[in-house]
Each structure stands twice: as C-alpha cells, then as structure tokens.
C-alpha cells in the first residue's frame, strides 16, 4: 500500500470516527450513571437539525454548534424525565425518543419553512493546520490537519476519562450506575445525577450530529444520522464503558468503514450497497467477538427506588 493511499485511509477513518466518538462519549456518561443510551440516535439527529437550521438562519456556525448541543439536550431531557421520574423502560423510551426526533426534525424542516423543505447549503468547518506539526510525515496530514470538531472530539476523551476515574463527581456518577442504593446511603441523589448525566449525554450527541451537518456535509436531510448513533452504542460496548477504549472502538468502526469505501475503488465485483452494509456488519461481528466479556454497569436499566 503506498503512502498516499495510507494517508487517505487513515484520515477517512478519523473523519468517520469523529461523530461516533462524540456520541459515544455522551453515551458513556449516560450509561455509567445507569441509563441505557438507546436514544442517542435521536439526540444526534436533533443536534444535526438544530445546528443546521440555526446556522442557516443566524449565518453563524458558533450559534449553530451551541444550538446543536441544546437540541440534543432537549431530546435527552424527555428521555431523562421519562426514565428517571416515571421509571419508564430505558430501551423502549430511547427508541421512542428516536422516533420523536425523526418526526420532529422532518416536520419542522418543512413546517418552519412554509411547508416545503428548503435546500440547505451551509459552509462547512474547514481544516485547521497546526503549524509545524502538520508538516510531519504521515502523522501530519492525518492528525494535525483536521477540522475543528475533530480536534474537539478527540481532545474531549481525556477530560471525560479523568472525570469518570479521578473526580468526586465522576466516581459518584459511576457509583449510581453500579449501586444507586449504596450511593444514596452516602448522600448522593441518584435520580438527579442520572437526569443530569442523560442531559449531558444529549449535548454530546447533539454535537456529534453537528459534526455531520456542519462539518462533513453542510446540509440537513431527513434521518441523516442513519444508524450512526447505534454504531456509537456498539463502540461503547467494544470499549467496555472506558472513554479511551471507546475511542479505540470508534476508530475501529471508522477504519473498517474507510477500508470498505476504499475497496469500492479497486473494481471488485461488490456493489455499493454491500459496501454500505459493512459498518453495521463489522459492528455486529465485533460485538459477537467480545461476547459475554463485556460487563456493563450493574444497575443499568433499573430504576432507583427508595426503600
């Protein structure tokens, strides 16, 4: 494999992994606190929508990014309220949030613009070359010549890791995910902590959606996340709820997808549809490979009930 192809493959892996990583980091926070993050697909879609529409109206991408966080958090607030306050089933509530987000974004895309979906063409976030470092061979173009949100996503891994492992708040969050009754007995409020965790997860996932609409494609279309939120969930399991390993999981799915895209150019007798299946198939294969070794937070999916 020559140098140019390798560079292209590696940058494509990172490009594909970026939105997954933001969503997955949010999912880790939510699931560490004991709430399944099936709703991230919807939060991500809401974020992509909020970001695109705000940028279109306000002509300012910074407002767009803020709006994407807020939109994701809004969908997450519905999930948080239902799962924590009403003790609704996590999996199915997440699914309901996905349908709700799909419906609302598609409805508002038309409803807010007089009944017809507008053609959205936005300027995308351009690459930022880090001086000197971007001149390095291989690592330069791959790691140090990327758009803004890619740096943000990968740099966020460290603070999220430190938060979960090294801070009081992070440890309390994980305690709530493992044994809410024990956390409660030492003064934590599991319900409040879980709600905050889910809403923070929504903000992360919304930002992940913004990567799609504001950094990669510069537009919004119905259902554009297309299962990326679910791929991020797979990456969380692959990474066993540890941010740095989860990043590895996202890069793995990214690399597999990049390779599949690249294979398309080799003239093999594979149609583009079979190739589009690869990320999903790879995710399933990896999940099967991990099998029962993955240990999820012990109290995940179970409501906390004071006794």
């Amino acid at each position: 494999m020559d140098y140019a192809v390798l560079t292209e493959l590696l940058s494509a892996s990172i490009r594909i992994a970026t939105p997954l990583l933001l969503v997955a980091l949010g999912g880790v926070i939510s699931e560490s606190g004991g709430t399944f993050a099936v709703g991230v697909e919807g939060m991500m879609l809401a974020g992509a929508f909020g970001g695109a529409v705000t940028t279109l109206v306000m002509k300012n991408i910074a407002f767009g990014l803020a709006a994407s966080c807020a939109s994701g958090a809004l969908v997450a607030a519905v999930v948080a309220l239902a799962t924590v306050k009403f003790r609704a089933d996590h999996m199915v509530t997440g699914l309901a949030a996905n349908i709700l987000a799909l419906g609302l974004t598609s409805f508002l895309l038309r409803g807010l613009f007089g009944g017809k979906a507008p053609v959205i063409v936005l300027p995308t976030l351009g690459n930022i070359s880090i001086p000197w470092l971007s001149k390095l061979p291989l690592a330069g173009p791959v790691l140090f010549d990327e758009p803004l949100m890619t740096y943000v996503a990968f740099l966020l891994v460290i603070p999220v890791h430190l938060f979960l492992r090294r801070t009081q708040a992070g440890l309390t969050l994980r305690a709530v995910g493992e044994n809410p009754a024990a956390a409660f007995s030492v003064g934590a409020d599991p319900d409040r902590i879980r709600m905050v965790a889910v809403i923070v997860c929504g903000a992360f996932a919304g930002l992940g959606g913004a990567v799609l609409s504001l950094q990669e494609l510069g537009t919004f279309t119905d259902g554009m996340t297309n299962g990326r939120g679910f791929l991020a969930l797979a990456a969380i399991i692959v990474g066993r709820w540890m941010p740095i390993r989860v990043m590895g999981g996202c890069l793995l799915i990214g690399a597999a997808s990049a390779l599949a895209l690249n294979i398309q150019g080799w003239g093999l007798p594979l149609s583009s549809y079979v190739i589009q299946m690869t990320p999903y198939l790879i995710a399933l294969a990896v999940l099967c490979g991990i099998g029962r070794k993955a240990r999820m937070p012990a109290a995940i999916g179970r409501p906390f009930i004071r006794s």
Partner: protein
C-alpha cells in the same frame, strides 16, 4: 436493596397484573386514550408552530381517513402490516425480548415473496400466493434468528442486534433491486411488475382493499389464543415475569426467547410479503421504512396485549392514511405521524412506569 430485586419495569409491570379483570380493562383503555389525546394535543401545538390551523388540519386528517370507501380501504391496507408486526413485537416484549428489528424482517420477507412471485410465475394464483407468503415468513424468521442466536450464544443484546440488522435488511432490498431483481430501465429502484395471479385478491370488489387484513385479524386471534391458552404462551409469560421462576419451573430461557423471536420474525415476514403482493405488486426500494418502529408503538399502545394490537394497529393505520391526505390538502407535513407516535410511546411508557410504582407502594 440489591439491584436484582428491582424488576426491569416494562414487561414486568404488564405481566404481574392480571389481564382478565374488567376494571383493569377499562383502566388500560383510559390509559391508551389519554396517551393518544395528549399526543394529539402536542401535535396540535406543532401544527400551530408551523403556521397552520390545528382544527382544520385535524378535520382534514379525519376526512382523509374516513371520508370515502376508498380512503377506508387505503387505511385498512396501511394497518395490515402494522398489526401483523405489532402483535409479534407485543409477544416478544412480554418475554422481555426487545425485538425492534421489524423493519429488517419485513424487508427480507418482501424480498423472498417477490422472488417467488417473479420466479414461479407459471403457478396458478391459489398456489403462488400462499407459497410467496410462506417464503416471506420463512425469510423473516430466518432474519430474526440471527439476533436471537447472537443474544443466546454470544450475549449481544437483541436491541443492538435487531437495530443494526435493520440497516442491513434495507440495504439488501436496494442490492437486489440494483442487481438480480431490478427492472431494467425503470427510473426508480423497483422490480418488474408481478404476474397478475400473484396479486392478492380484493376483499371488497372495486376497491384496493386486499385480503391481507383478514390474515392480520386471524394472526391476532391466533396469537391471543397462543399467549393465554397454550404452554408456549405460558412460558412466555413466565420468562417475562421472572427468569429465575421460569428456570425453577423448568422453562428453558433460550428456547422461549428463540421461539418468540422466530414467531415475530415470521409475522413480520408475512407483513412484508403482503405489502409487496397486495399494495405495490412489485418490490420497491424502502417499502418497509418506518414499519418496524410503528409496530413497537402499536404494541405499547396495546399495553402488550395481543388482542388489543388490533385496535391500536387500526388507529395508526388510519392516522397515517389521514395524515397523507392532510399533507396533500393543506400542506401540513405527514411526518407529524412520527411525532404523534413517538409521543404516544413516551406517554404509555411513563404510565406503565407509574402504575407499577403505585402497585408496589
């Protein structure tokens, strides 16, 4: 309190309560009605935000759903795959198997039925149609068997297994339509038209209403009977209420989970077959989009009671038919249906959660 003492609330709440008490029946009905009412209310707000009059919009929706014989036929045809898939989902949820792979199962069911319809076209209709539907159900069951096997042998949660396979199933439809089964020269990815003897016969002559709805009703009654009156149904209820109790009673968890997944897959596959044989008369790209999630919403609205899937499925079928008319007439986007569906699900889930809590305290 050890975390294992707490039930995974969704199905447990539904199973613990007896479904045969009359008061319980009215309570559930009121619950479903309230969920629908609240969702429609939120929907009205959404319509208002989009600058349209909600009263006019809902009136046009109602007219679109019930306005004429043709519109009723259209809505009944819409409900058919939802009911078939929904009743399978309800049974799965009862056993605490969160199968949300209806969309993929419908897709491959449609592919298999289409293949039979196109390749066994010299058979007479009374052989060809049952054969095509059978092929659809086998394909749907086989598709559902994959996540079931992943769950049982490798511990992959069926939510992720079924969800990810949905995308693969949808892409398989595109794949066969751009390959072996596609119509050459058509502007849209679709198969050639099926021979006329493969079309589902009309139930009411002169309308589009096909016999699929009969199959759906039969399936609902069969599932109702199977759930309440057979050992299989008892095992489902037992596994759903307590895995430990089920194991103690000698019920194999794996066999029950696999059984209910295959059943739901087969029902979804039949839905896919009916959709291509009765509505489109050909395989078309994306024909199953949204059906699987619809089925989940219906199963929940029916509070996971097989027989109640019938009215719940009809409700969503008529809602969707009406919404399409509303979009044509006054330009309110029909994606409002998804908003209402999502909200209904959230409200029902909250209500199930609360009622369980009340019972416990």
């Amino acid at each position: 309190m050890a975390p294992t003492d707490q039930p995974a609330n969704l199905t447990e709440a539904a199973v613990i309560r007896s479904d045969h008490k009359m008061s319980d029946f009215w309570r559930r009905l009121a619950l479903a009605g309230l969920a629908i009412l609240l969702s429609l209310l939120f929907g009205a707000v959404a319509i208002f935000v989009s600058g349209k009059n909600p009263v006019l919009a809902y009136w046009s929706l109602l007219k679109g759903a019930f306005g004429s014989v043709d519109s009723i036929a259209f809505a009944l045809n819409k409900s058919t795959p939802y009911i078939l898939t929904g009743v399978g989902v309800a049974l799965c949820f009862r056993a605490r198997v969160i199968n949300i792979g209806g969309e993929g199962q419908i897709a491959v069911g449609g592919i298999a039925a289409s293949w039979v319809a196109l390749n066994a076209s010299d058979l007479p209709g009374f052989c060809l149609i049952p054969l095509a539907i059978l092929a659809g159900s086998v394909a749907g069951a086989a598709w559902a068997a994959i996540p079931a096997a992943m769950r049982l042998t490798r511990g992959v949660h069926e939510v992720l297994g079924t969800l990810l396979l949905n995308f693969v199933g949808l892409l398989m439809v595109s794949e066969v339509l751009h390959g072996p089964m596609g119509e050459v020269g058509a502007g849209f990815p679709q198969s050639p038209l099926f021979p006329e003897q493969a079309w589902l016969p009309a139930l009411v002559p002169g309308t589009d209403l096909h016999i699929g709805i009969i199959l759906a009703v039969l399936a609902v009654f069969a599932c109702h009977f199977a759930f309440w009156r057979t050992p299989f149904g008892f095992r489902l209820r037992l596994v759903g209420s307590s895995e430990a109790a089920a194991a103690y009673a000698g019920v194999t968890f794996a066999r029950t989970v696999a059984g209910v997944m295959l059943l739901a897959g087969a029902l979804a596959g039949v839905a896919g077959a009916i959709e291509v044989l009765g509505v489109h008369y050909r395989l078309i790209q994306g024909f199953s989009v949204g059906f699987g999630f619809n089925a989940v919403a219906i199963a929940l609205l029916a509070s996971l009671n097989p027989i109640a899937v019938l009215p719940a499925g009809l409700f969503f079928g008529f809602l969707e038919a009406g919404a399409l008319a509303m979009q044509r007439e006054i330009g309110v986007p029909s994606s409002l249906v998804y908003v209402i569906q999502g909200l209904t699900m959230v409200f029902v889930l909250c209500a199930i959660g609360i009622s369980w809590r009340q019972q416990r305290i």
